[in-house]
């Protein structure tokens, strides 16, 4: 079976969406919405940088890159492709297809003038094949999690039933205790400020106010994604995710802080996992108040976030609230690393961006928000 690598064309979209049921989800309609949001509606979207593997007229593999906008001290905003959505049908693996798909994307990325590409969501297998394709690893995201005791015990019981007693019994227990991830938060958190409580819950983003806050906060020049109103307006419309926002509202309607949570739609079993994907505040008190509010109102069974690049005061507060480093076993030993790869010659020095070192994790201001994992 010969395999040819071809650039994406709009008429191939139905086959692409079918293939991605292996990765994104079983719902073709949701996959279509996700594709459109990610590759066509992003404020930085140009022509999608996607290559497909085709064998005997059938699409059997895909590697996509979507465009992101980054900034660093001493360097202006720079568009960089973010590599994602790697999938190859099982019978076509270990035949060089992954490498050929990656190479095709690298060549086109270089031809379009991108100096680097990056990845923040490689799973274990993709991570290894990425290293083999010349990617460099910058470091891991230092994920931490907070697990509530009772749901955790129930989950352990469910796993025990599944492994040692009965799959059906485990399913029944899972269904009996399953609650929407944000059910408690939606009931307990106020929708408008009250006396002595400036924190409110939102179901929708506030792009201008959030961007205004980020612009007002000091920035040390570490590499970060541009967070402007266009980005905030697009980022939280991911149709495969559900979002909640806590806003610390100033008198007059501006923000002193915000915190964004997301939950992956369609999780059918296990603890309902929520990720804290972005978190900003004018000072430590605001940031701590937002985090305290999430735990107090949300009682989320499993809350996770990244701590790479987070200030020590915030790390300490996370520890005080019971967040623990997630074990490599639970994360996949080689997953969850920041990867970068050179594409060609551009305005950046070989492994630099502005006055920062792309290969030094200390030079990155990372947030789960920037990753499609978040």
């Amino acid at each position: 079976m010969t395999v040819e690598i071809i650039p994406y064309r709009p008429e191939l979209t139905p086959e692409l969406l079918q293939l991605q049921t292996n990765l994104w989800g079983a719902d073709i309609g949701l996959n279509a919405a996700y594709f459109k949001w990610k590759y066509l509606e992003s404020p930085y979207a140009g022509e999608p940088l996607i290559h497909l593997a085709r064998s005997e007229g059938r699409i059997v593999g895909m590697r996509g890159m979507f465009t992101t906008l980054w900034e660093a001290g001493g360097g202006g905003p720079q568009l960089l492709p973010y590599a994602d959505d790697l999938v190859v049908e099982p019978e076509f693996r270990n035949r060089g297809v992954v490498r050929r798909l990656m190479e095709a994307n690298f060549e086109e990325g270089a031809a379009r003038g991108f100096p680097f590409c990056l990845s923040l969501s490689a799973g274990q297998v993709t991570y290894l094949s990425s290293l083999a394709a010349g990617w460099r690893t910058v470091g891991d995201f230092q994920p931490v999690g907070n697990f509530r005791a009772l749901p955790l015990q129930v989950e352990r019981a469910r796993v025990f039933l599944d492994q040692h007693v009965s799959h059906r019994a485990a399913l029944l227990l899972g269904r009996a205790v399953k609650r929407p991830a944000f059910a408690r938060l939606d009931r307990a958190a106020p929708a408008s400020p009250g006396p002595g409580s400036p924190i409110v819950l939102g179901h929708e983003t506030r792009p201008e106010a959030m961007a205004d806050l980020v612009a007002r906060l000091p920035w040390d020049g570490r590499i970060r994604h541009v967070r402007d109103a266009a980005y905030f307006g697009w980022r939280f419309r991911n149709p495969l995710r559900q979002y909640r926002f806590l806003f610390w509202v100033e008198t007059g309607g501006g923000l002193r802080g915000y915190l964004v949570l997301h939950h992956r739609l369609g999780e059918s079993s296990g603890l309902q996992r929520v990720n804290l994907v972005d978190w900003e505040g004018t000072d430590d008190q605001v940031r701590a108040g937002l985090l305290d509010a999430v735990l107090r109102w949300g009682r989320i069974p499993r809350l996770e976030t990244w701590t790479a690049g987070v200030p020590e005061s915030a790390r300490a507060h996370l520890r005080d609230l019971g967040f623990e480093r997630l074990s490599p076993q639970s994360q996949g030993r080689w997953g969850h690393h920041l990867l970068v790869r050179r594409l060609g010659h551009g305005p950046m020095t070989p492994w630099g961006f502005g006055n920062r070192d792309l290969l030094n994790m200390e030079d990155w201001d990372l947030r789960m928000l920037y990753s499609m994992a978040g």
Binding site: G96, S129, R136
Partner: protein, 80 residues
């Protein structure tokens, strides 16, 4: 069995079909022979042989694992 033959067995058991004429200088990485899950299995196999976990950020994998000969040398340098 010599390390080289054991390594060939391990590569084949990871699901890779080695082409005829495959030898010490044949490409494993740039050719795409070691793809995705095969690479994962081979990393675990190499770790078993050297008796410790590999820090994949600490060496140039595409260069040092590019051929069978290089991979044999890589393991021999790290064996206890």
């Amino acid at each position: 069995m010599a390390l080289r033959e054991e390594l060939i067995d391990a590569i084949e058991e990871s699901g890779v079909e080695l082409p005829s004429g495959f030898g010490d200088e044949s490409s494993l990485i740039r050719s795409g022979l070691l793809d995705s899950t095969a690479l994962l299995k081979l990393v675990l196999w190499v770790e078993g042989r050297i008796g410790s976990e590999l820090d994949l950020a600490a060496f140039d994998l595409p260069e040092e694992w590019e051929t069978l000969g290089k991979l044999v040398s890589f393991i021999e340098r790290r064996r206890p």
